[in-house]
C-alpha cells in the first residue's frame, strides 16, 4: 500500500515537474514566438481617417470643412443573385455588367459609390445585404456653397486638391494616412487602448471676408442677368496690403455638387487665368508715366478737336469730338486722341518702361494656381500703329488682377503690392506655421499718385465717363474701360462683342477698397460707364456699410464724436 502511494506521488511529481518545465519553456525560451502569434490574433491594424484642414475667412467663418462620409463597396464574388444588385439599384447607380465581370475574375472588392448620402447609407444598412459593406472616408464640405468657389477650389474623391486654394495649399491642408493598433478579443471585438488621436491637416485663414464676398457675388449676379453677359469678374483688394477681400467669377459652380457641372470651363478662375484687352482702364499707365517723367502737368492742354488721330496710317477716333482738353480732362472724358498725344510726347521706350514697372506681362505672384502672365510686346516688336494702340489699352493682354494692382498703386501712394489670399496657416494644435508678409515696391512717386487720385476722382464727377459709379457720401476714384474683343476668325475687332469694365478705389482720399468689375459680352449697351460702373457703385455701397467706413461728410453731419482725454475725464466724473 505504502509502495503504491510512493509510486503515485512520484507519478504526480513527474507530471507536475514536466508541466512546470513546459511552462518555463513557453514563458522564457519560446516567449517571442508565442508572443508574436498572440499579437497577430489579438492586435489589429485600424486606419485613422485623415481629416483635411479647414479653410476659414478673415473673421474665422468656416469656408471649407472636413466631415466623414461612408463609401459603399461590394464583394462581387459573394454576390449570389441579381436580386442583390436590383435592390441596390433603388438607391444608387449600379453597373450590373461590371459587377458580374469582376465576379467572374474572382475580384473581392469593388467600389459601388464613394461618399454616399447619410440617408441612403441608413437605408442600405437596414437591408443587411451580404457582400455589401461601408468604409468611412473623409469628405470635404463647403458650407457656403457657391460662395467663393473659384477661390476655394475643390478636391477629388480621394481628397486631393484639384483647384483653387485646395490645390495651391494641398501640401498644408492634406493629412497623411495613418493607422493605429487596436486590441481585439477572440471574436474580434475591440478593446480600448485609450488612443483617440486624430490625424488632421493644417488650417488655413484667408484674407477674404464672407460678407464682402457675398455683396460682390450678389451684385455681379444681378449684372450678368441684367446685361445677358457671357461672363464676369469682380476682385476687391486692400490697396495698401494686397489682401484679396473678395474675388468672384461668373459663371460659377457649387463645389459640393461637382457632378452637376456640365461645362468644365466654369471652374476656371477667370480673374487670373483669362486675358483681355483692358481698353481705357490702361490709360492710367500712360498718364502716370507722363506725370512721373514731368512731361505733362494736370493743366497741360491737348487739342482733340478733330475727334481722331492718324497713327501709322490707322485712324483712332474718340467716342465724341471733345475740343481742347486739359490732361485731367483727357482722362476724365477718356479721350483716345488725347492719350495717344500724351504717349507720343512720352515716346515708346519710356511708355514701355512704365508698363514693365507696373509689371504688366508678368505674373502678380498671387497664391492661386493657374495665373498667367499676360502679354506685352517689347518695343522692338511694336508696329507703326502700336503707339496709337498700346497707350489706350489695345495690343496688350492683361488679367483683371494686374489692372487692379496698377490702380492700387495709385490708391496707396505709389507702391506696387503683391496680391495674396492666405494670411495664416495654423497647425491642428494652433501653432502658426505661416504668416503672410506684405510685399510692396515703390514704382511712382507720392506726388504723381496724389495727382492721379485727383484726376481719377474727376472721372466719376459730372462730365466724367463714370458718373454711375458716384456714391452718396464718399468720393470715388476710378476709370471706365470699353474694349472691343478681337475676333481670331476674322482677324479684326468684333463689332458686337465687348469687354466693359470699371476699376477704382473708395473712399478716394483715404482708400479702404480697390475694386475691378469686368463684364464680358454685355448685350445692348456695352459702355463700361453704363454696364460696369453701376456694379461698382452697388458693391461699394454695401461694402462701406458692412465695413463701417464713415462718409466723407460724417464730421459735417455730426456723425463723428471724438473723445479727447479731457472729455473722457468729464464723462467719468459726471458718472461718479
Amino acid at each position: 500500500m505504502q509502495k503504491r502511494l510512493i509510486l503515485l506521488k512520484i507519478v504526480f511529481l513527474v507530471c507536475f515537474v514536466s508541466i512546470i518545465f513546459r511552462l518555463g519553456l513557453i514563458m522564457f525560451v519560446e516567449h517571442e514566438a508565442y508572443f508574436s502569434k498572440a499579437k497577430l490574433q489579438q492586435v489589429k491594424k485600424q486606419e485613422i481617417i485623415p481629416k483635411r484642414g479647414n479653410i476659414y475667412d478673415r473673421t474665422g467663418r468656416e469656408l471649407a470643412v472636413s466631415l466623414e462620409k461612408e463609401s459603399l463597396f461590394i464583394d462581387p464574388a459573394s454576390v449570389k443573385s441579381d436580386e442583390t444588385i436590383s435592390v441596390l439599384k433603388h438607391y444608387i447607380k449600379v453597373d450590373t455588367d461590371h459587377i458580374i465581370n469582376q465576379a467572374e475574375k474572382n475580384k473581392r472588392f469593388l467600389w459601388l459609390e464613394r461618399k454616399v448620402d447619410h440617408s441612403v447609407v441608413e437605408k442600405i444598412k437596414a437591408l443587411k445585404i451580404d457582400g455589401v459593406g461601408f468604409v468611412t472616408e473623409g469628405a470635404r464640405f463647403y458650407p457656403k456653397g457657391f460662395l467663393a468657389s473659384h477661390l476655394l477650389g475643390f478636391v477629388n474623391v480621394d481628397e486631393h486638391g484639384m483647384e483653387g486654394l485646395e490645390r495651391y495649399y494641398d501640401r498644408y491642408l492634406k493629412a497623411e494616412k495613418s493607422s493605429k493598433s487596436v486590441l481585439t478579443d477572440a471574436r474580434g471585438k475591440k478593446l480600448s487602448d485609450g488612443d483617440l488621436r486624430d490625424v488632421k491637416g493644417n488650417n488655413i485663414f484667408v484674407t477674404i471676408d464672407e460678407g464682402l464676398q457675398y455683396i460682390v457675388e450678389k451684385y455681379l449676379d444681378e449684372a450678368i442677368k441684367k446685361w445677358h453677359a457671357s461672363s464676369g469678374t469682380v476682385i476687391m483688394m486692400d490697396p495698401f496690403t494686397g489682401e484679396i477681400l473678395a474675388l468672384a467669377n461668373r459663371p460659377t459652380y457649387d463645389p459640393n455638387s461637382l457632378k452637376s457641372i456640365k461645362d468644365i470651363g466654369i471652374i476656371r478662375n477667370r480673374a487670373i487665368t483669362d486675358l483681355y484687352e483692358p481698353g481705357s482702364t490702361f490709360k492710367i499707365v500712360t498718364a502716370t508715366a507722363a506725370l512721373e517723367e514731368g512731361i505733362v502737368k494736370p493743366s497741360t492742354t491737348f487739342d482733340c478737336s478733330q475727334g481722331y488721330i492718324e497713327v501709322g496710317g490707322k485712324r483712332v477716333k474718340d467716342a465724341h469730338k471733345q475740343g481742347v482738353l486739359t490732361f485731367e480732362e483727357v482722362i476724365q472724358k477718356s479721350s483716345n486722341v488725347g492719350t495717344i498725344k500724351i504717349a507720343m510726347m512720352l515716346g515708346k521706350e519710356k511708355l514701355y518702361h512704365y508698363i514693365k514697372k507696373f509689371e504688366f506681362g508678368e505674373k502678380t505672384g498671387i497664391d492661386l494656381p493657374g495665373e498667367i502672365s499676360g502679354y506685352v510686346r517689347p518695343t522692338q516688336k511694336w508696329s507703326g500703329t502700336s503707339i496709337g494702340a498700346i497707350p489706350i489699352g489695345q495690343e496688350v493682354a492683361v488679367t483683371a488682377i494686374q489692372i487692379l494692382r496698377a490702380y492700387s498703386t495709385i490708391a496707396n501712394g505709389g507702391y506696387l503690392v503683391k496680391p495674396f489670399v492666405v494670411s495664416e496657416i495654423h497647425s491642428p494644435e494652433g501653432n502658426i506655421l505661416y504668416k503672410a508678409v506684405i510685399h510692396r515696391e515703390r514704382v511712382v512717386s507720392e506726388k504723381t499718385a496724389r495727382i492721379m487720385r485727383e484726376v481719377l476722382k474727376k472721372v466719376t464727377e459730372d462730365g466724367g465717363t463714370a458718373t454711375a459709379a458716384k456714391l452718396d457720401g464718399n468720393n470715388v476714384a476710378g476709370k471706365t474701360g470699353t474694349a472691343q474683343k478681337y475676333n481670331p476668325k476674322t482677324g479684326r475687332y468684333s463689332k458686337d462683342s465687348y469687354v466693359s469694365s470699371f476699376v477704382g478705389f473708395i473712399p478716394a482720399d483715404n482708400p479702404r477698397i480697390a475694386m475691378i468689375v469686368v463684364i464680358h459680352d454685355p448685350k445692348g449697351i456695352h459702355y463700361g460707364g453704363v454696364v460696369a460702373a453701376p456694379v461698382f457703385k452697388a458693391i461699394s455701397d454695401g461694402a462701406l456699410a458692412y465695413l463701417n467706413v464713415p462718409r466723407d461728410d460724417a464730421k459735417e453731419k455730426g456723425l463723428v464724436v471724438t473723445f479727447n482725454n479731457e472729455i473722457s475725464r468729464n464723462v467719468t466724473m459726471a458718472r461718479k
Binding site: R61, E62, V65, S66, L67, E68, F141, P143, K144, G145, F146, L147, L183, D185, K189, K190, L191, S192, G194, L196, E210, G211, Q213, Y214, K218, G473, G542, L544, A545, Y546, N548, V549, P550, R551, A554, K557, L559, V560, V561, T562, F563, N564, N565, I567, S568, R569, V571, T572
Partner: protein, 107 residues
Amino acid sequence: MNTSVKKNSYIMHIVLIILSLCTIFSILWIRSNVISLEYRLSNLEDKKKEILRERRMLLAEKSSLTSFVRLDNVEGHLLVFPDRTKVVYIYGNPENVVKVVNFNKKN
C-alpha cells in the same frame, strides 16, 4: 501538545488553501473586470467618436445656415446693412467712452 501542533498545522493548511483560492479568484475577477472595463471604454470611445462626428456635421450645418446667402434669401431678409447716415462714429479713449446710446429720444 503534539495534538495541538498537528491541529494548528491542519488549520494553517486549510487557511493557506483558502487564501490561495481567494487570491486566484481575485486575480481572475479583477482581470475579467479590467477586460469588461476595456469593452465599456471601447464602446464609450466609439460613442465619443460618433458624437464628435455629429458635432462636426452640426457645426458645418450651422455654418451653412448662418451664411450670408441664406440670411439674405430667407423670408424677411435678415441681412440688413446699416444706413451710414444714421451711424455715429466714436473715437477716443475706449475705457471712458459712453457705451450706451439711446436713439429713441430726439437729439
